[in-house]
Subunit: 164 residues, 5 copies
């Protein structure tokens, strides 16, 4: 957990390719949550062409002092696009292991929405919820633990929790 | 094998996304097995949003002194969720090779259960058996060797052993 | 961002296998953009047999002083060719993380075109746009940020931007 | 190639999950081949729960002085099991590259056998032949080279050799 | 590029599993090309059981002084064999990035041939052309660049070049 008195740098990397400005939504949520809780943060943003350009950009920001990151992108709907998203995700995993820092991945697949409005809703909801999660990870991990195994979802309604 | 007189730290990393608190089940099994055998353990737990957030969290716990870990999560049922579970698993493999420490992976796929009750049974059974396995790995590896090639399963009934 | 007064070395790696000289198109775009903006660049080009030979060639150029790279290739249309392109892409990701430098990947799949003319158009367009993107990444990152989440595509028409 | 006068340590890692004790078969072949040829070997065996637990266990044995290893396991027949075997295999590759030592992988897929007896035959045959191969790799590499491109198979009959 | 007066060591790694001696074909081509051009080479050959045993063998040869390598193998025709070839290829990529040296991969899939004669033709042709490519890479890279984007194929007829 971060010392609350210092400015915590957070990396936000997004793409030109995505069909909506999820990076802006994430930054607004990060900054509002920080203000509401008196947490000190500083967002560093990079925009790259597409999702496969995210990992190295993110790694550089993490190695230059960001404490954690959020990666926002939109894989297309063709089979080759799924393959590209897999490659981007694997390299984002690698960047985390190399830097020992967490990167939350906010990927919304272009075919997830029933229509443009639904797609926009998923994008906004997922970007907001993961920005919130990132703040908890950095400043209030107990909030995550409270919700362990509770079926929390980002982008859609939560699932039903089962008693074990 | 661990010296039995020192407290052995064990990492438990689970998710908010899963539809049941497998982390709690694993911890109960670890602690009961430890008490029954007079093995000294200390559990360190982290909860992260989803399975792809497990690897870096686990790597950090292992590098901070945990001797081994257990990773509990629930991939969803869509094809993209299988891809995500593959990415998480590959990075958990990587985290093990980087730290030289074992992480048992307790993933229950959301579509493994015939219904909610069956799914809950699989989750509880797999979390318990792998928590047990982890204790054997750390404190009693001869228990594993006794069962070599015996068709032991976690989450379902054991398979039939063949004579070679 | 690069100091504009020094010569910035850029790696261009392409293949014999591709059915058109995308490397030449990329180099022409890089050099024209540099002249138009008075940015000083020096292109270092390597041609390799096929896409799987790109990663190590690129890594060597990046470690020998190139600031960034562009990788151009054409995966064939058979299933095994998709697998090869996946392997090449994964290793290009790895080369980026090892060198901490960006490599834009311009892969045009042989089956992307409706016919030879259409395929040639996709190849030319994608090579030009990504060469342009690379110049922005190196010399004018604000141009990328301006287009964040705007549905920019390379090789085809842009997609519609959604308000979030 | 190993000095024949010293004891060469060989790692054998197998699983509880497999439906037959392939580890025992491999060890018997290793020890018999060693006796027949007056090669000095010492087998170090570890049993782990399932195939995904093999890589880190193997890496540790190789780094603790084993010259090479053999990994024996049985992926299940469901699609998710193929994915798990892929993850295990990728990490076994990684463990080899990290340690610079060879690990022969003896995986028998649960659905390879026409029935239980056939499955048992494949398991025994593949474990024996790969144990033999490992001994050649360590002590008599010329035996492998003699058979270059000859269609040698493990677990099933050899294939027909073609003249090139 | 290599100094032409010293002996350049080249690694050739092939398998027992393949149904024809492609390693021999590659070595003949390497040695003939060297003689014809007065390039000094020394071939170091290793034969391993199957394609998944190539990467670590190749890495060792590259780290022991070989300047580049050629890896020859034959994945079988079953789906699991495609997975194995993917694992081998990924690890060969990794070995190249670790050693910073090029390895040309000559994999002929068992189901590529219309019949045994056709399969033998593909094997011979691909092994010869890639051995030739490797010599160009080491001694005459300008030959590769001359053919950039020209649709050169190994194992089959070349494809038609498009003007961009």
């Amino acid at each position: 957990m971060i010392q609350k008195s210092q400015k915590t740098k957070i990396a936000v990397v997004d793409t030109m390719f995505a069909r909506g400005d999820m990076g802006k939504v994430a930054i607004e949520t990060i900054e509002k949550t920080a203000r509401d809780n008196e947490w000190q943060v500083k967002v560093v943003r990079r925009t790259v062409p597409g999702i496969k350009d995210i990992p190295v950009a993110m790694l550089n920001l993490l190695e230059q002092g960001c404490f954690a990151g959020i990666a926002l992108g939109m894989p297309g709907s063709a089979p080759i696009d799924k393959q590209c998203s897999h490659e981007a995700s694997m390299a984002i995993q690698q960047a985390q292991l190399m830097s020992k820092k967490t990167v939350l991945e906010v990927f919304v697949h272009e075919d997830e929405g029933k229509n443009d409005q639904d797609l926009a809703n998923v994008m906004r909801n997922r970007a907001q919820k993961h920005a919130q999660n990132l703040m908890w990870l950095l400043f209030a991990p107990e909030e995550l633990q409270k919700r362990a195994g509770s079926g929390e979802r980002q982008g859609r309604d939560n699932a039903k929790k089962l008693e074990l």
